[in-house]
């Protein structure tokens, strides 16, 4: 299993004595084998999360702490990014629309692309960077400094305390972050629209909400639930299964960011296809 210390230490020893042993004994597993092993372990990890998250006792205190960490603490960064995205997308879209003489469609077009795609994905990437690496590094260092072991021997289920709270917090907070980021980005777009043109606030709001449909907003929020889950899951997985001491902590944080960013895009692709399949566009 994945928290099998046997396997990890085995790996550790093998790495340590690699140079002394014959080549065949130290051969690293092939990339495919590694990939499948990693995917299997990740799935088992997710399964354990689902099981443990439903079973009492629930640790609300830690959940709130993590929610604060993931949600509130990311707000500033996410808001700045969203504002800039709103502004930039508007400025960049204007020339094309002007060419078609459809400048008045700017708020409508920009709001749809922001709400449906840009803000959720950019927010998720920011969170993958901030939250994913944070979780990966924190759990990784707890792992290598035996803090997770210490929790285990003190009779607390560290998986529940550390992993369940973090994944749940990320899953719940990301959609809220995205809603706020949507609002901020639309505000940025309003300023963008008014840099070269003049659109009153009332007209802008009217055009934006005239264009937006439930089928724009709701799927994008649902998508974010999965983004949050993926970011929390991968950050925790990479951190919780860290080996090789302090070097491993850096690798865990790095892998958490890289993998969760990639997974965000994969989920986005799937979400686009599913909404398309369900005719929600």
């Amino acid at each position: 299993m994945l928290i099998n210390k046997t396997g990890e230490i085995n790996h550790m020893y093998r790495e340590r004595y690699r140079l002394l042993l014959p080549n065949t004994m130290t051969k690293r597993p092939s990339i495919f084998k590694q990939w499948f092993e990693e995917t299997g372990n990740l799935s088992a990890f997710a399964g354990r999360y689902l099981r443990d998250s439903l079973r009492p006792p629930y640790d609300f205190g830690e959940l709130l702490r993590q929610a604060f960490e993931v949600g509130y603490r990311s707000l500033g960064l996410v808001a700045i990014t969203a504002f800039i995205m709103g502004l930039v997308i508007t400025i960049q879209s204007r020339p094309t629309l002007v060419e078609f003489g459809a400048e008045s469609w700017l708020p409508a077009m920009v709001s749809v692309s922001l709400v449906r795609e840009i803000v959720p994905v950019v927010t998720a990437l920011i969170c993958a960077g901030r939250v994913g690496s944070g979780i990966g590094a924190e759990l990784g260092s707890m792992k290598v400094t035996e803090q997770i072991d210490a929790m285990e021997v003190s009779g607390t289920n560290p998986f529940k305390y550390l992993v369940v709270s973090r994944i749940t917090a990320a899953t719940l907070m990301l959609p809220i972050l995205v809603v706020i980021a949507d609002a901020v980005s639309l505000w940025g777009a309003y300023i963008g629209v008014n840099i070269k043109g003049v659109v009153s606030y009332d007209l802008y709001v009217r055009q934006v909400f005239d264009t937006l449909e439930y089928s724009d907003v709701v799927p994008s929020i649902i998508k974010c639930v999965f983004f949050g889950f993926a970011i929390g899951l991968i950050g925790c997985f990479k951190g919780y299964t860290t080996t090789k001491g302090t070097e491993g902590v850096g690798m865990a944080a790095n892998a958490a960011v890289v993998v969760s960013s990639l997974v965000v895009f994969i989920i986005d692709l799937l979400a686009a296809q599913i909404t398309d399949l369900l005719n929600l566009n």
């Binding site: 230490i9 085995n10 707890m142 285990e152 021997v153 003190s154 009779g155 607390t156």
Partner: protein, 257 residues
Amino acid sequence: MESDNGNSIYAKFANGEPVLRVSGLKKSFGTHVVLDGFDLVLTKGENIAVLGRSGSGKSVLIRCLVRLTESDEGIINMLGLDVPDLGQDALDKLRAEIGFLFQSSALYDSMTVRENLEFPLRRHSKHLTQAEKDQMVQEALDNVGLSDTADLMPSELSGGMRKRIGIARTMIMNPGIMLYDEPTTGLDPVTGRGIGKLMLEMKKKYNTSSIIISHDMGCVKQTADRIVVLVNGRCRALGTYAELEKSEDPDVHSFFE
């Protein structure tokens, strides 16, 4: 004279009765054999030091005792319970009777000293009021002589202080059996002696039995009643400090040079 926790299993054992029996314990990682039939008996009120070189499997031994690492084979009987066969709930219950001091102290970085000490209580002593918890925390800190550090973060503490807080955190549950993983490693001799002294004080105050993993002979001499020398995954020698000092076995003797 004894201040055992009234409800604990440990309290039911009389002094001198074995509280831990290990026999034929085997553990290997792949082809690398770490423990190869290790035997040990710990009686109540006794401190046993396990001597061994780096990588000889000392840490693996005590990790196996609390099932942080699963053993391959052999009997581990702790407080009359067969450790390898315990279910999660029974294991958690047993673990509450055992204190484990990690080499790195393993204080939770994100919590204050007070929260660190309260952490083990959350699972096992839910019925406690905040006032009772505060009192227990204060008592534990007083025991290790760091009464006014409750609101500091672990990063603000020195290595010796961290060890003491680590001891306080394990002692707060009133454990019967203490497992020390290299308690003095990385500390200067004076601080190390201070920790050794504290370990003896705790033993005296709470009548604990301990297994001390170390290669610091000063600490071993100071704290251990008996010494086990671990060589090639087996118990090579067993005896008091004075007995083993005279041993002619080169593997044993090398520790006493």
